[in-house]
Symmetry: C2
Subunit: 339 residues, 2 copies
DNA sequence: TTGAAAGCGCTAACAA
DNA sequence: TTGTTAGCGCTTTCAA
């Protein structure tokens, strides 16, 4: 096969073919550009004949943004994260932006990576998981670059935040288990603290304790299915048998806990122990789990994020915003609620 | 909060502060640039003092590519797809590229979307799910733009392909079920044909039929968990009871089928029916499913994709390549293999 | 509404 | 090794 490479046609080529100036070409491709229908028609025809496309790099160099939005996410292969990124990406694209994806597994490199986004004149940045390094945030602030943080703490000093209402969520979870007749509560959480996960777990513990239900805290090494399963599989038997209502700080952990309880420990759910998760990932609804959970509305979350971004790009200069997304309880088969 | 916006420092600013020329600045930021350690030091110091970063837009305008790689994927919130994208993104970034993510749910828009990538002088494109529109492929070919297709048919005329060895995979699946003692086979596949899914299902049917095991084909409305579950839940009882070994063309479908069999139809797996999936998504290994499956090595796949891309960018002008990725059988609890 | 000209920030070819 | 110069392809004043 021949791999002859043609030069990409430029606005100059189009202008020549259409018999107009390069400015005319530019205007033809600028929404709302002041150009007569006839010239626009000529340009469009010439352009499609040559296979011309506006060079977004050159355009972005000229204007102040390139239409690219940085999307920073770790653990993309996790159910919750992947649906967040999927929704965000769809919405961004629908609004005419192009998401540039930075998946950052090793925190050491992250800084440099994210920094490189600035070189693309991004229109804004979205952080779903990692907290941006302080230096970077400082730079974003310097250049007035819109930043939206999802489920992150608000100590960066710059950037709007969209967070699940973890305080309410944790309390909801506790009240729910109590309403379902659980009296001796447990809470499974990862050893390493994380804004949202620790927040809701703490709220759960506080709320339950206040209501006279002390909480046994169970720790897992990390937030994955396997971590949670191992955590429960190795948990002290006495502690486990003391609990009749277990809140897991994410669905993924709840699923691991469920399998550990049923398979590894022979504990019947919900008969001997009720289990409640958080997030409402797709797998929570699968038949073998049928997990009761507190649902985050990912669609709504994504919509809020993109709206904030657009408002900022439109020049909204008010101080950092905080949007709390509402939560809903989804009662399924791992709790003994009155149906 | 003050939202004063500074101008971004340019190489000019850095040059002035460092007392050198703009080319020196450029060279200082070009790997392998011919520059003395002293000047580089001066430049670096000045740059970090000003918070300078190379403008990739301008750089990309000058050189022939922007370092951006287009990554086209649909159904990103699906386990297999999300891990593919996660690995690809990681590898691309490690190689110094920036993935631009196009998630295309509605095929009508896709063309325009993907086209817009060309405007960013992308260094290459990766298609994980959708087949690129023919016009677009033609343009990629015209400009010599590297394209890699994952699990796509090879009828586009341009682009290297990385595919699971579906033919072998389907045969492996059939042989495996037969080896495990299944005699009356079934195959669950989506109604709508897809390159990989239909390919392996067809291979399964062909192989089994040749060996004297006719196959009952069961159809689901689509490839999701729910589609598969509904498909089995509504399947004809006679047909279902005639089958003792069921191959599902993806793990996601297999999990839906498993839940339907056990929960909706009261059929014991693997006692009454053995079940085998394909892909080895994370959930297949979860305790409640413990699904036997044929594994695609996603890491290896991603590595191959990126390698091909890099070879092409380095000027490899050989004709379209086809890389078959090997498959491994993972025997878990849904088959009655000799342990 | 149109075209000419300047310039976005950078790199690369050339000359010193 | 360094600086000078000429673009990369586009948008955007500014005049006409």
């Amino acid at each position: 096969m021949a791999r002859d490479v043609e030069r990409k046609p430029t606005s100059f080529d189009v202008a020549k073919l259409a018999g107009v100036s390069r400015s005319a070409v530019s205007r033809a491709f600028t929404p709302g550009g002041r150009i007569s229908p006839q010239t626009k028609e000529k340009v469009t025809r010439a352009a499609s004949e040559l296979g011309y496309r506006v060079n977004s790099l050159a355009r972005g160099l000229q204007q102040d943004h390139s239409g690219i939005v940085g999307l920073v996410a770790s653990r993309l292969d996790t159910p919750l994260r992947s649906s967040q990124v999927a929704r965000l990406s769809e919405l961004l694209i629908r609004e005419g932006f192009k998401p540039m994806l930075i998946t950052a597994e090793r925190p050491d490199h992250v800084g440099t990576l994210i920094e490189s986004l600035l070189g693309y004149n991004v229109a804004g940045m979205i952080f779903t998981s990692d907290t941006p390094p302080p230096d970077l945030i400082k730079d974003c602030a310097r250049f007035g670059l819109p930043v939206v943080l999802i489920n992150r703490p608000g100590n960066s000093g710059w950037g709007d935040r969209v967070v699940a209402d973890n305080l309410t969520g944790g309390s909801m979870a506790a009240q729910l288990l109590i309403d379902c007749g659980a009296t001796r509560l447990g809470c499974l959480m990862p050893r390493r603290e994380t804004f949202s996960v620790s927040g809701r777990a703490q709220a759960f513990v506080d709320y339950a304790t206040e209501r006279g239900h002390p909480v046994e805290v169970l720790l897992a090494d990390d937030q994955g299915y396997a971590d949670a399963r191992a955590g429960i599989a190795k948990a002290d038997a006495d502690v486990l048998h003391r609990i009749d209502g277990l809140f897991c700080s994410t669905d993924l952990m709840a699923l691991g806990a469920l399998d550990a309880l049923r398979i590894d420990r022979g504990i019947k759910v919900p008969e001997q122990m009720q289990v409640l998760g958080f997030d409402n990932i797709e797998q929570a609804g699968w038949g073998s789990y049928d997990l009761s959970t507190i649902s985050q509305d990912i669609d709504a979350q994504a919509a809020t994020v993109v709206r904030l971004l657009i408002e900022r790009m439109a020049g909204d200069a008010s101080s950092n915003k905080l949007e709390q997304e509402p939560l809903t309880a989804i009662l399924r088969g791992t709790t003994r609620h009155a149906r």
